[in-house]
């Protein structure tokens, strides 16, 4: 049973990983990445890591990939995208990077004794065990990560709203530029109001 699940999940993981780069439609690519993450969650289940598997789906599928798809669907290209400009040094670099990762995987697999299955107690990977580890052994790392995430959230808000021009009140304009500037502002808003009124009456007349 375990082996069957392992092979199905592994094949799905590899196939979807290939599809991420092979698909020409970015929306479908993102969906393939989602499939890859789901397959990894299935593999984690086999490693007795139920909490991590569920968290993987909730965090990546429920939040991260949703945002990817949101952006692609709104502002991305609808159809397929053609091949980009192929620079020889880029091709060489990517092949080199792929080789490096392959060597690393081989070294790790050869170095680790994967012949035997590690035995863990029933509580291993349960939410209670992970929660306890987070607030005892790894408390510092946990708190540092939460501070970083909080900073990222604040930064997001600042970037999201910072570029917008601030509309000053009449008093602030008066203090800064004097009486004539306020008068000009009033003129401008009156003109805008009149223009709006003209257009609406025009609409109804038509």
């Amino acid at each position: 049973m375990d082996i069957v699940v392992f092979f199905i999940a592994s094949v799905c993981a590899i196939a979807s990983a290939i599809a991420v780069v092979a698909q020409k439609n970015p929306f479908v690519s993102a969906l393939a990445l989602l499939g890859n993450l789901a397959s990894l969650a299935a593999l984690m289940l086999l490693l007795e890591a139920q909490f991590v598997a569920a968290a993987q789906i909730i965090v990546y599928a429920g939040a991260v990939m949703v945002m990817f798809l949101f952006v692609i669907a709104y502002v991305g290209p609808r159809g397929e995208i053609g091949p980009g400009v192929r620079k020889p040094w880029l091709v060489a670099l990517s092949v080199f990077a792929a080789l490096l990762i392959a060597v690393e995987i081989v070294v790790v697999v050869m170095g680790a004794s994967l012949g035997s299955v590690a035995s863990v107690d029933a509580n291993y990977g349960s939410p209670a065990a992970i929660g306890e580890a987070l607030v005892t052994d790894y408390l510092l790392a946990f708190e540092v990560v939460s501070v970083i995430l909080f900073m990222a959230a604040v930064a997001g808000v600042v970037f999201g709203t910072g570029g917008r021009p601030v509309r000053l009140s009449n008093d602030q304009v008066l203090a800064k530029e004097g009486e004539s500037a306020v008068e000009r502002r009033r003129e401008a808003s009156r003109a805008a109001l009149e223009a709006a009124r003209d257009s609406t009456t025009g609409e109804s007349a038509r």
């Binding site: 139920q50 569920a54 909730i58 429920g62 939040a63 949101f70 939410p127 209670a128």
Partner: protein, 328 residues
């Protein structure tokens, strides 16, 4: 899996069939109730009291032509309703209908749930968030502005309300000390969590209505703004699958509310499954009542309620619960 592969498969099939039957007749109940709320009869032509109405609807849906828009992404367009439906039924599969029961006349015992894992609650949340991909893919693949806008609204709504929803549920988790539905239901033997977790229950309920896209939070299919939202371009059985998935999601969230706040399948005199269905029915009745009563909120109101009201209240509830659990 507690009882082997074959029994699990049989139980899954039984649960899925019961769920579909329950869903079909809840649509009848909904139409009948809304009729009464609006001082009319509701469906009463097909069979006694209109009881054959769901079957007539199914027949009508099955006969319709399956259209695919010319510009649509064909494969994803066809897949989207299946994704929505699969996730909706899958999430319901973890709901407990009791602990262990003995089949009358024999000494065979059977577990009245399909699976009870240490992370059941998270699994339901995970499958629920996957279900939203059905709406999003459907909205994108139809290649229609209204469908795309509806799908995007669904996602924005999900992201905003899932935070408050999860925080509200964490209060229950802290008090029960478990993520398993059976343990949570058993922990409420003496006192239903709706009383100590009342604040959390309010947030849970509002967020659940929003997550199941029910009125007054059904902005994904606001007919005055985005026609029918993500399923604008769908017809026949494909549309029916979207509608069914949405209603089944409402049933699942009702079941979740029953387990987390109303003691799950426990209750006097009647067996567990009956109590569970009664509690789900109570939740659904309130949902239908709300649908017949309240007007739809605006989109900025929806966001304001989610981030500025529900989230702080849920956080407060979480803090109070944590303090109470540690010091009381």
């Amino acid at each position: 899996m507690v009882d082997g592969v074959i029994l699990t498969i049989i139980k899954s099939l039984v649960l899925a069939s019961v769920l579909m039957g329950f869903f079909a007749y809840m649509t009848w109940v909904e139409r009948k109730l809304i009729g009464r709320f609006q001082a009319r009869y509701g469906p009463n032509r097909v069979g006694p009291y209109g009881l054959m109405q769901p079957i007539a609807d199914l027949g009508k849906m099955l006969q319709k032509e399956n259209m695919i828009p010319e510009m649509a992404h064909r494969k994803l367009y066809i897949a989207a309703p299946f994704i929505a439906m699969t996730c909706a039924i899958g999430a319901f599969g973890l709901m407990p209908f009791g602990d262990v029961a003995t089949i009358p006349g024999t000494d065979w015992t059977i577990h009245l749930y399909i699976a009870d894992t240490s992370v059941s609650l998270l699994v339901v949340a995970a499958i629920g968030s996957l279900g939203f991909y059905g709406l999003m893919i459907g909205g994108w693949a139809s290649s229609s502005k209204y469908a795309l806008l509806g799908g995007m609204r669904a996602i924005a709504q999900l992201v905003s309300y899932e935070v408050a929803f999860t925080l509200a549920v964490i209060g229950v988790i802290i008090q029960a000390g478990s993520l398993s539905f059976i343990s949570i239901a058993n922990a409420q033997e003496h006192l239903w969590y709706i009383i100590p977790q009342f604040l959390g229950f309010l947030v849970f309920f509002v967020a659940a209505v929003a997550e199941s896209n029910r009125p007054p939070f059904d902005l994904t299919e606001a007919d005055g703004e985005v026609v029918a939202g993500y399923h604008t371009e769908y017809g026949g059985m494909r549309y029916a699958m979207f509608a069914a998935a949405e209603f089944i999601n409402a049933i699942t969230l009702s079941a979740l509310g029953a387990v987390l706040f109303l003691g799950g399948p426990s209750g006097p005199f009647l067996p567990g499954p009956i109590w569970m269905l009664l509690k789900i029915g109570a939740f659904l009745f309130v949902l239908i009542w709300i649908r017949a009563t309240l007007p739809r909120v605006r989109f900025d109101q929806l966001m304001k309620i989610g981030w500025k009201v529900l989230l702080p209240v849920a956080t407060l509830n979480l803090l109070l619960t944590a303090v109470a659990v540690v010091y009381l």
